[in-house]
């Protein structure tokens, strides 16, 4: 065990997996001497050389597609995208090719490919550099989707991703890179896909959160506890596969849930979670499952739109609020302050 940052945890796992298996290599923009814009490959070039730590041209379609080809041909590529927003430049390769190849080959291709990089708000980057991309990749069959919310999960999930024989979209969060926690250093430490993490147990309400909202939900749970309300906090960790059982049991126990994420509401991961849990846990629910999310604009480049702003006041204005009891209202008042 050692205390590590999220970025360090990622780098260490990449290095260990490259040591362990010659077929693992990494390619992407500015990942060699520069070590990646967020430092997740810093120093790897010194140990592994430019063949296995490859600087690519700014050609996202080309190198995502090349990742697929290399994977089909026996390598285990890790593709770093500088910003996951740039998946959009490579969408044909990711959705039409990478996600479908195994299926349309009748299961004959093995595609151990990881496409990883960071996303989200947090550095005053512009509208095209701070989005939450995960929902698109959940929609199409053929891709696994991981979203680690701390350094330990980053290490464990990434190792699972690299060892997985399927394409994995691995979403890091830029605001988490400097966050620290204890990480199991053993070279076989993995976190399985499809296993949600219950970070805090509770009986009155379930908060389901991803990425930076996991910690924020824990903070909210603390405040609720002071008011005598016991909140359970769950991080699904991977969206594909999704651990429905854990979340369903939780909601069956608490009767209420709020899904909190940085992505937009409409057709976001939260919509999927709310819909599925409504089917699975309908008879246990005391109120509708709510979503708390980023509003329908990306206006985050700068100054006034500091993060606290963008999630606020959502639940208090939703029509569903009427269905809540007074006690629920107290819960919501706290949850609404999640960003402040």
């Amino acid at each position: 065990m050692s205390i590590k940052t999220y970025a360090q945890a990622i780098k260490d796992v990449i290095a260990e997996e490259m040591r362990r298996d010659d077929r693992v290599f990494i390619m992407g923009e500015d990942i060699a001497e520069q070590g990646g814009i967020f430092g997740c490959t810093r120093g790897l070039i010194d140990e592994f050389g430019p063949d296995r730590v490859r600087n690519t041209p700014i050609s996202e379609s080309a190198f995502c597609g090349a990742g697929l080809g290399a994977a089909c041909a026996g390598m285990r590529p890790i593709v770093e995208l500088m910003y996951m927003d740039f998946t959009l430049v490579a969408m044909d390769q990711i959705i039409n090719q990478i996600a479908k190849t195994r299926y349309i080959f009748g299961g004959k291709a093995v595609i151990p490919l990881v496409i990883r990089g960071q996303q989200g708000v947090g550095r005053g980057n512009a509208a095209t550099h701070s989005q939450s991309m995960e929902a698109i990749f959940m929609h199409f069959p053929g891709l696994k989707v991981a979203m680690p919310s701390d350094a330990s999960d980053a290490a464990g999930l990434l190792r699972t991703a690299i060892r997985d024989d399927n394409p994995v979209m691995f979403f890091e969060h830029k605001a988490l890179y400097t966050s620290k926690c204890e990480v199991d250093d053993s070279p076989d430490f993995t976190v399985p896909f499809g296993k949600a993490r219950i970070l805090r147990e509770g009986k009155d309400i379930t908060l389901i959160a991803t990425h930076t909202y996991v910690q924020k939900s824990l903070n909210v749970a603390d405040k609720l506890a002071a008011e005598g309300i016991s909140a359970e906090v769950i991080d699904p960790r991977t969206l594909v596969p999704m651990d429905w059982d854990t979340m369903t049991s939780s909601v069956a126990k608490t009767g209420r849930a709020v899904v909190v994420h940085e992505a937009h509401r409409t057709a976001g991961a939260g919509a999927e979670i709310a819909a599925e849990l409504s089917e699975r846990a309908f008879k246990y629910l005391d109120s509708p499952i709510l979503r708390l999310e980023q509003r329908r604009a990306r206006f985050l480049s700068i100054s006034v739109l500091k993060m606290p702003w963008y999630l606020r006041n959502r639940i208090s204005t939703t029509p569903a609020k009427k269905l809540f009891t007074e006690r629920d209202a107290a819960v919501l008042a706290e949850v609404n302050q999640i960003d402040t």
Partner: protein, 332 residues
């Protein structure tokens, strides 16, 4: 839609370009100091050392012509006629900025003057310029005969030249004979990656041959060289003869973005290029030609510095956008 036939780099043109170069330089220096003082945030890409290209290229354009710019877009924006005050305000995300603070440095746009915007997606602006040229051809083909068709300039970097969409755009512009000038600002690096590591050719302009388009490489730090190449390309475009690919070799003095430690290049290399300062070069060129006295040139420089100071004051004292308006402008 000024015709370009016979446009010369005379005293007036030279003074105009010199002024623009100084405006850009002072604006960028001011933006850097505001960034360092933590008054301006976000990803900020400065074009100090590369000013000759936007200033010269845009001197051939007026408000009916279009440009599509890059993440390193302040120079293009200013050269296309934006005022420093509102440009700085946009960088700081203020309500008075060209995009009401919603664009920021990487998405500053000024449609009234034909600026289709900086673009934070490398290569993203190139097809947009092609589309503006398509509109020009569809609406103003009749002006081609007099050589007055509005044109579009697509600025992009050496790194961007490896994006598929850039190649698709060049092919399309050539097939449709569109009035586009593709201007590759080759500063030798895409962030940390040197050209030789990412790009199959030494002179990116030769790729024009693949799309059957005239192409040329010139020194991007020398206004007269840029001027000559652009003059021909714009003239051709205005006459409806189709696109040209121009490559201008230059260098960015500062890091890729503010705060880049620049581990991928040597100090000597930077110093070497600083000796080839485009502004200094232009100054001595103008003096030699007898275009302007030292006093006149000093005055231009002082005016630019004062304008940048003013822009900073304007931006600093401008209001923040009203948070209540955050959801405005998503749809019409």
């Amino acid at each position: 839609m000024a015709g370009t036939k016979g446009v010369r780099l005379d005293r007036d043109k030279a003074l105009q370009i010199y002024e623009t170069m100084n405006d850009i330089r002072c604006f960028e220096e001011k933006a850097l100091s505001l960034f360092e003082a933590n008054k301006l945030r976000g990803s900020v890409h400065l074009c100090i050392g590369e000013e000759a290209i936007p200033a010269t290229v845009c001197s051939f354009l007026d408000d009916s012509d279009y440009i599509a710019s890059t993440h390193r877009g302040h120079g293009h924006c200013i050269a296309k006629g934006a005022g420093l005050d509102r440009a700085m305000a946009e960088l700081m995300g203020k309500a008075t900025g060209y995009c009401k603070g919603k664009g920021g440095s990487m998405h500053i746009a000024d449609l009234e003057r034909g600026n289709l915007g900086a673009n934070a997606i490398v290569g993203g602006g190139v097809p947009i310029a092609v589309g503006a040229a398509l509109a020009s051809k569809m609406m103003h083909a009749d002006l081609a005969e007099q050589g007055k068709m509005p044109v579009a300039v697509s600025f992009f970097g050496d790194g961007a030249s490896n994006q598929g969409v850039v190649h698709e755009s060049m092919n399309l512009a050539s097939v449709w004979k569109l009035p586009v000038i593709f201007v590759c600002e080759n500063n030798g690096y895409g962030i940390s990656v040197p050209q030789w590591q990412s790009t199959s050719v030494k002179d990116i302009s030769v790729r024009g041959a693949a799309y059957d388009m005239p192409h040329a490489t010139a020194d991007g730090n020398k206004v007269p060289d840029i001027f000559k190449a652009v003059s021909k390309a714009v003239d051709r475009a205005r006459h409806g003869e189709g696109p040209t690919l121009l490559e201008f070799k230059t260098y960015r003095w500062l890091g890729h973005w503010t705060g880049d430690p620049c581990v991928y290049r040597t100090r000597e290399e930077v110093e070497e290029w600083k000796k080839r300062c485009p502004i200094k070069f232009m100054r001595s060129y103008m003096t030699e030609k007898g275009f302007a006295s030292d006093k006149e040139l000093d005055e231009i420089e002082a005016r630019a510095a004062a304008a940048a100071d003013h822009a900073a004051e304007f931006a600093l004292s401008s209001p923040e956008p009203d948070p209540a308006l955050v959801l405005e402008d998503v749809f019409n």
